[in-house]
């Protein structure tokens, strides 16, 4: 089977003018970095891949994940994890409930609880299951968001400026954690950033986007 995330002839248009064009195969464990000035439509590219493209845009091309064409699939059936610059933990749920929300349904309550506790221990947050997410530090929230995404068992990973809100030291830490886990699980990663450090740490191919519709 053809593992990985294949972006075949992607083109996103706004008002019938092309905004971005990408054509690339991301292999399992590989990180593709997309760089470019803000406003060039990097996040729009991710929205197309997750299936949440705003109606003012139009996307063309094919997204193939592990050999399956998912271009027309509803967003919740694509199994593509995404991390934003904000943690976006659900504020009305405890840390544990946030994680449980993402775990695919099935299994006994106690086995689900066990999965959650083990995953928290893995990132140094053992015993945090009942905490209110609002009481965590920035780095802790970022780790919970990462764990929540991983527990949903995604087949690919998208990073939308995921580290830009963290300060320099924390940033390197969280970044290394994310890349390490992605490599372990052989996930194809697409990272959007405007930070050269992020791109260097990813160690993969870098695509520089520039505005196609400068007029």
């Amino acid at each position: 089977m053809n593992k990985g995330l294949i972006l075949r002839d992607l083109c996103i248009l706004r008002d019938e003018l092309p905004l971005i064009e990408v054509d690339y195969d991301i292999k399992p464990g590989e990180v593709l970095t997309v760089m470019g000035p803000s406003g060039v439509g990097k996040s729009t590219l991710l929205a197309f891949i997750t299936g949440t493209l705003p109606s003012v845009f139009r996307g063309m091309g094919t997204v193939i994940l592990n050999g399956e064409d998912i271009t027309m699939r509803p967003p919740h059936k694509r199994r593509i994890g995404i991390l934003f610059q904000d943690d976006l933990l659900f504020p009305h749920m405890s840390v544990g409930a946030n994680l449980a929300f993402g775990i695919p349904a099935g299994g006994s309550m106690s086995s689900r609880g066990g999965t959650i506790d083990a995953a928290l221990v893995d990132v140094g947050l053992g015993g945090y299951s009942d905490r209110d997410p609002a009481t965590l530090s920035g780095g802790q929230k970022a780790r919970v968001a990462l764990v929540r995404m991983l527990l949903s068992d995604p087949n690919a990973l998208l990073l939308d400026e995921a580290f830009s809100r963290l300060d320099a030291e924390l940033r390197a830490q969280v970044r290394d954690l994310v890349f390490r886990v992605a490599k372990e699980r052989e996930l194809p990663v697409l990272m959007v950033t405007h930070d050269a450090e992020d791109a260097k740490a990813a160690g993969g191919k870098i695509i520089e986007l520039e505005s196609l519709s400068k007029g």
Partner: protein, 558 residues
């Protein structure tokens, strides 16, 4: 299913308005099968124009409406200009927000108890200042100029417009503009008026039109505080519509159309005024004058705002005191004796009526909330947000004067022989409740971070699961607030309950209004208080429930 909801909502909201207008047009041209009459004829209009009081009643509607709206707008604009961002402003905001829910009738009764010749103000200054040892024989309430009525409208419209202005300011970034203006040497007031007000005004235009249309056609406030010979046009319409002689309905219908024309005329006049003030304002901005009277205007406006809030608060306090008053001789400030007799006599019936009031309000708000949430979710899923035209449609039921379409709706129901009772009343209330629920929930709903939905999607959650498990619980507070707004609107409905209920549905508002002519202040105190209570309790719960429910979730209390 979800895709059909916006259309269904529009139908529920505008259907009765359009049907009601049609039901007004027919009898206005002499067609009323229920009374064995068929048109078309211009007789109803001839009858209307033969009525001696038409000129005075029309003038009264027009002038009280325009002045009340203008006065409320000026007070709100100056308070916001002079004080927004300060502590006094926040105090005033806190004070005024609960007042928004006080029903118009209760506020009007309260004001009446303050300003009438035997009211609290007269008692306070008598006999030391006035040498009155009995209530003076002056026409303060129901004065022929409608001044008391204007005051009654202003004290209720100031909180409404102020909260609308505060909501509109969120998008205008007033602080930065003001800072720039002040750096250029402008005073607070003129700086704000020149840089922020034009943007804010374009946002609160529709609410202002609503206030104008409402003030011109209001019935309950006009009955309590307005003049009676002749009364305002809308009160006269209701009189004609409830006349046992069915042919009087023809005149009433003609008058309802005349009322609609008056409101359209007033809106046109206001629109013209906007143009003129706009032109003058551009000139004023270009003149570069920095403003010299800022300080006194600021102080006066805050004083007027406080006076308006105080009038409602002391009015409600007056209702409380009257409901417990035994014998109360003039000019004593306090009753000679306190007693529970009024509550013993009226309490049980008032409580039963409270049940009916909440039953109607509960069903209405439940329906409204389901429709509004459905519309908003459909909007979210289709990615198309409400257009400008859509917003106008939301406001339309509030812009058409009630007295123009409710009588027609009643006549239609009469013609088709529909059972008049609770169900039609519920649908009539829905016309007014839906827009308010939609408008109060729309902004918080749309400002929810949609990336949360993207993340939840990425975690494998379906749109329905996101709606029920993520979005609804996160928006508990605004949802409960919009429920409280809806209940307050339903509780306050007078005309819709009176006409469409055909006297068979009595809510606290219709009961309180039925007491208005009798002048039994103790009974009015009981019913007015219950009415206020019915509108205020849901607001208190809307504040309390999320606080308790999410007491361990700090992220929801920003």
């Amino acid at each position: 299913m979800l895709r059909l909801l916006p259309a269904l909502t529009l139908l529920v909201m505008l259907g009765p308005v359009i049907a009601g207008l049609w039901g007004t047009v027919l009898p206005a041209f002499g067609h009323l099968p229920a009374a064995g009459l068929s048109g078309p004829t211009l007789d109803p209009f001839r009858m209307l124009f033969d009525w001696q009081g038409l000129g005075a009643a029309s003038r009264l509607s027009l002038i009280t409406g325009l002045i009340a709206t203008l006065l409320s707008l000026i007070i709100v604009a100056f308070i916001t200009a002079g004080w927004s961002g300060t502590r006094s402003f926040r105090v005033l905001e806190r004070l005024l927000s609960p007042l928004l829910s006080v029903p118009h009738a209760a506020a009007a009764f309260g004001l009446a108890f303050l300003i009438m010749p035997s009211g609290w103000i007269a008692r306070l200054i008598s006999p030391t200042l006035t040498r009155w040892d009995r209530p003076p024989d002056v026409l303060i309430l129901q004065d022929p100029l409608g001044l008391a009525m204007i005051a009654g409208l202003v004290i209720k419209e100031v909180p409404f417009l102020l909260l609308m202005t505060i909501a509109a300011m969120g998008q205008a970034q007033p602080r930065r503009s003001l800072r720039v203006a002040q750096a250029l040497g402008y005073g607070r007031l003129s700086g704000w008026l020149k840089t922020v007000f034009p943007r804010v005004y374009s946002q609160i235009r529709l609410p202002i039109y609503v206030v104008l249309a409402y003030s011109m056609s209001v019935v309950d406030v006009a009955v309590i505080l307005g003049p009676s010979t002749p009364p305002t046009l809308s009160v006269q319409i209701v009189k004609w519509m409830s006349d046992p002689d069915l042919s009087m309905r023809l005149t009433g219908a003609a008058a309802a159309l005349w009322q609609l024309a008056l409101v359209v005329f007033a809106l046109g006049l206001w629109w013209l005024g906007e143009r003129l003030v706009g032109r003058w304002g551009r000139h004023w901005i270009a003149s570069g004058r920095r403003g010299q009277f800022d300080a006194p205007i600021c102080i006066v406006s805050l004083g007027l705002g406080a006076l308006s809030a105080g009038a409602v608060l002391f009015g409600i306090f007056g209702l409380i005191v009257w409901s417990f008053a035994g014998f109360w001789s003039f000019p004593n400030v306090w009753p000679d004796t306190f007693t529970l007799r009024s509550w013993d006599r009226h309490g049980p019936n008032a409580l039963a009526t409270l049940g009916e009031t909440f039953l109607v309000a509960g069903i209405v708000v439940g329906l409204a909330l389901a429709l509004v949430l459905g519309c908003l979710e459909a909007e979210h899923r289709s990615g198309r947000s409400l257009s400008r035209r859509g917003l106008w449609l939301m406001y339309l039921p509030l812009l058409v004067p009630q007295t123009a379409f409710l009588p027609g709706l009643q006549t239609l129901l009469l013609n088709v022989g529909a059972d008049i009772g609770r169900l039609p009343v519920i649908f009539a209330h829905l016309v007014f409740v839906l827009p308010y629920v939609f408008l109060s929930l729309g902004d918080p709903w749309r400002s929810w971070d949609v990336r949360l939905a993207t993340v939840a999607n990425a975690l494998g959650a379906s749109p329905n699961r996101i709606f029920w498990q993520v979005r609804l619980p996160m928006l508990t507070r605004p949802i409960l607030t919009s429920v409280a707004v809806g209940i307050a609107v339903s509780v306050g409905q007078y005309l819709a309950t009176l006409l469409i209920g055909g006297g068979r549905v009595s809510t606290l508002t219709t009961e309180a209004m039925a007491l208005a002519s009798g002048g039994d202040r103790r009974a009015i105190g009981v019913y007015g208080l219950m009415q206020t209570f019915a509108a205020l309790v849901p607001f208190t719960l809307a504040l309390l429930i999320p606080t308790l429910l999410w007491r361990n979730r700090r992220g929801l209390h920003e």
